[in-house]
């Protein structure tokens, strides 16, 4: 028997035409695939945007990608657990290493009092120059100015705290905290700036002064609570971490952001898993329809398949032809779904206002603007899952079609 030879082009034409024999069914299936793929990518972009924001905010609040501190400081953030300002080898590495941004800071619990009210706060003594990259605070000043030098005598407080204290820009407040000997030190500060944080809760607690001024107040000249480092990308800080921890004198504790905040680390690690689960669930819901479509398409063509088999077409080619049909269906669906997703995500990239649930989002550590993040990785993931699993689920119907007995197939009605 002459072997029926088909080149790829013929096979492709055959599949393409078969696809449109029942344009309604193909159309419905394309619609389902397009919606599924759109949902995969759209939702993933929103989730990514949310988690990125959560991580960025979280890391800015820590702050920093790497922190060096007294081993007891994280558990007991007290002024007695301070460290000396960096010197020697560490200072050298800090200056030389790939980082552009590092600073020291003091962090203590304190009480702030205006003429009318008293509140417990988190008092930070910072180096103003580096703060833009570490916490992004200078950009958040809504009134007045940010601290200018390490010796600045002013204080910067949050808008919400100002409201609670019934005070305003230019007024004086008294700050009390303990020095290492547990004597209460206090000092008046003039409010030189007021900031508005993206996360409302922080405004009430974080109060900023210049580092040297605070050292004087607490009688800890030459000492700080933490050394903060910021790398280019929070995802890739291992090389820097290695270098820094080698240069850090013994007795100090060097930690990365993900060691410090387990919630952030969990979110960071879970995100890829979430995306995969979501994509696979949507695919499974789609797969029933896909198999259904193929099974019916084959069922309608039993006689035809029997005939071409009788004419000498090899079963393998029948499998290829059906798989190709399925692949074409998937590819068109993916093209529509991807374009839909890009078309809907792009206009939202300037930010989606979700301030209606701002305080709820704050509980999760997310600010009230959501910036969807459409990543190549996620798009490739969604598309590969659909194509690979799609082809896999098509194999069974295709193989069954190819193993039909031509004589029986020809005689079915």
């Amino acid at each position: 028997m002459a072997v029926f030879r088909l080149n790829f082009n013929t096979l492709l034409t055959l599949s393409w035409r078969n696809l449109w024999r029942n344009y309604r069914r193909t159309g419905i299936m394309l619609g389902a695939i397009a919606i599924g793929v759109w949902a995969m990518i759209f939702m993933t972009a929103l989730m990514r945007g949310m988690v990125d924001d959560m991580l960025n905010q979280g890391i800015r609040n820590l702050p920093g990608h790497i922190q060096i501190q007294h081993p007891d400081f994280l558990d007991d953030p007290n002024v007695v657990n301070s460290i000396a300002e960096p010197s020697g080898e560490l200072l050298l590495v800090l200056k030389q290493s790939g980082t552009k941004r590092w600073a020291t800071r003091i962090k203590v619990a304190a009480v702030i009092a205006s003429e009318r009210e008293t509140r417990g706060i988190n008092l930070l003594g910072i180096e103003p120059d580096a703060e833009a990259d570490i916490s992004g605070l200078p950009a958040l000043i809504s009134e007045g100015r940010f601290l200018e030098t390490n010796q600045d005598k002013g204080i910067v407080i949050g808008a919400k705290l100002a409201e609670r204290l019934e005070t305003r820009l230019g007024k004086r407040v008294v700050v009390m905290s303990q020095d290492p000997d547990n004597n209460l030190s206090e000092r008046g500060f003039r409010i030189v700036g007021i900031y508005r944080a993206k996360m409302p809760g922080l405004e009430e607690f974080n109060v900023y002064t210049a580092r040297d001024t605070l050292q004087q107040l607490l009688h800890i000249e030459g000492r700080v609570s933490q050394i903060i480092l910021v790398d280019e990308d929070y995802r890739e800080i291992e090389p820097l971490y290695e270098k820094i921890s080698q240069a850090t004198p013994p007795g100090l504790d060097t930690r990365t952001w993900y060691q410090i905040d387990s919630y952030l680390a969990a979110m960071f690690n879970m995100m890829d898993g979430f995306v995969l689960v979501w994509v696979v669930i949507i695919f499974l819901a789609l797969s029933f329809g896909l198999v259904n479509t193929l099974v019916m398409a084959i069922f309608e063509r039993i006689r035809e398949i029997g005939l071409i088999q009788a004419l000498g077409m090899r079963p393998a080619l029948i499998v290829y032809q059906i798989l190709l049909e399925s692949l074409l269906l998937l590819l068109i669906g993916l093209a529509i779904g991807n374009s839909l997703a890009v078309a809907t995500v792009k206009p939202l990239e300037s930010g989606l206002d979700i301030s209606i649930v701002a305080e709820g989002m704050a509980m999760m550590g997310v600010s009230s603007m959501l910036y969807p993040n459409l990543t190549l990785y996620d798009m490739v993931l969604a598309n590969s899952v659909v194509i690979i699993l799609g082809i896999l689920t098509s194999i069974l119907p295709a193989w069954r079609a190819a193993s039909l007995d031509p004589v029986r197939a020809l005689n079915t009605n």
Partner: protein
């Protein structure tokens, strides 16, 4: 006659058994998933609400109208003890307790920290808040005792104090006077809610009023409802009665903890987006199946119409077929969903990273979905509705069928 249509519909379904099962399979898959995740959502929302509210804030609070926005000492409720007692008698419930709140700087021998100091009614406080029950070392406050304080575990660690140690606190009183006292730590609580453990301390209300010059005033009357469902009826009866009593504001828990309701809302929104996508995909599956099955049977339907069957009757047949398919998907889906969820509601489940997340929302590190009638019916019900809606178009097409042409169709 109805019976005939039903039997026809049932038999029609199994003319293409594989197709029917694939469509029903899509429904079962979605229904199982929906039952599970809706049960999980409801369960965790309830737990979030209960854990967050019962720990401290209670379900309802009565406050000075401006206190919610500006929690300042001077926005106080006069004669708060008598007021709370009046409410207890009037509502016939005892889970009502009066509180006053202030800020102070507390110093131990070694350390000083700012803290929130709450004056509580030691007799009634355990009825509105779980905190007194969470005293892990020492004991809770004794009624009327002065110069006793109960503090959070993290605060105790930071202050480096133990049971029996002394604390000095200073703050400013109601009349802006200097408020100071020396108290002995009698108890240390551990709630697992870091805000409370880190910065809260409780003393007796009477003592608080003396030290902070409150003259019998307080800041909030806290009410704990027996069930979360009782909150709204309680709210309405309270606003009637207290409107007559001078102007106190009645605050619902979602005003006291707006983040909680909003976190739930945000979570609901994203969850429903996912559910709707699933439901739409199932609807497409049904549309595909039913449209194909109508088109295949054009000749058959033509014949039936020629025999005198009205298109409406045929449309009913299609809807009935869809209904049967949906019913099958519904029953099996709910069945599997209930089994899976029921199993997990006993053994609980967790995934890597969940403990860290749960902690943020005052949840335990294992999740236990709770099955309720609503959580079983809601998702699958909407899937069924979507499927029936999807079958309307194929069913309506039958109206366009002309018997003669139809009988000639291939």
């Amino acid at each position: 006659m109805k019976n005939v249509t039903l039997r026809m519909a049932w038999r029609n379904l199994w003319r293409h058994g594989k197709r029917t099962w694939l469509t029903v399979g899509a429904m079962i898959f979605s229904n199982t998933l929906l039952v599970f995740s809706i049960s999980l959502q409801f369960g965790s929302y309830d737990m979030m609400i209960n854990n967050s509210l019962q720990a401290f804030s209670g379900h309802i609070q009565l406050q000075h109208p401006r206190y919610l926005k500006q929690p300042k000492m001077r926005y106080a409720v006069p004669a708060i003890n008598a007021r709370a007692q009046g409410l207890r008698e009037q509502l016939g419930m005892s889970a009502i307790s009066a509180r006053a709140t202030g800020f102070a700087l507390a110093s131990s021998e070694e350390r000083s920290y700012g803290l929130q100091i709450i004056g509580v009614d030691a007799n009634h406080e355990p009825l509105v808040s779980t905190l007194p029950g969470l005293v892990k070392r020492g004991r809770y406050l004794q009624a009327e005792a002065v110069e006793e304080i109960v503090i959070g575990s993290v605060l105790a660690r930071n202050l480096k104090v133990e049971i029996g140690d002394e604390l000095t606190f200073i703050g400013s009183g109601f009349d802006d006077s200097f408020a100071a006292g020396v108290v002995r730590v009698v108890g240390i609580f551990e709630s697992g809610i870091s805000d409370l453990d880190r910065s809260m301390a409780q003393v007796n209300l009477g003592y608080f009023q003396d030290v902070f010059a409150m003259q019998g005033q307080g800041h909030s009357i806290v009410i704990r409802a027996r069930h979360i469902e009782d909150v709204d009826p309680l709210m309405s009866s309270l606003s009637i009665t207290t409107a007559n009593l001078d102007n106190l504001a009645v605050r619902h828990w979602d005003e006291l903890q707006p983040g909680l309701r909003q976190a739930i809302q945000a979570d609901m929104t994203s969850a429903w987006f996912m559910y709707i996508v699933l439901i739409v995909l199932v609807a497409f599956s049904v549309l595909n199946t039913q449209l194909m099955s109508v088109l295949e049977r054009t000749r058959e339907f033509g014949t039936m119409m020629a025999l005198g069957l009205k298109p409406a009757r045929l449309a009913r047949l299609i809807m009935l077929e869809t209904g049967l398919m949906t019913g099958l998907g519904l029953i099996i889906g709910i069945g599997i969903g209930a089994l899976l969820t029921g199993y997990l509601s006993v053994v609980g489940f967790s995934y890597p990273g969940m403990a860290e997340m749960a902690d943020k929302f005052n949840l335990p590190d294992h999740m236990y979905p709770t099955i309720s009638t609503l959580s079983l019916i809601l998702g699958p019900g909407i899937v069924a509705l979507g499927s029936l809606l999807a079958a309307i178009y194929p069913a309506l097409r039958l109206n366009r069928l002309r018997p003669i042409e139809a009988m000639r169709a291939v």
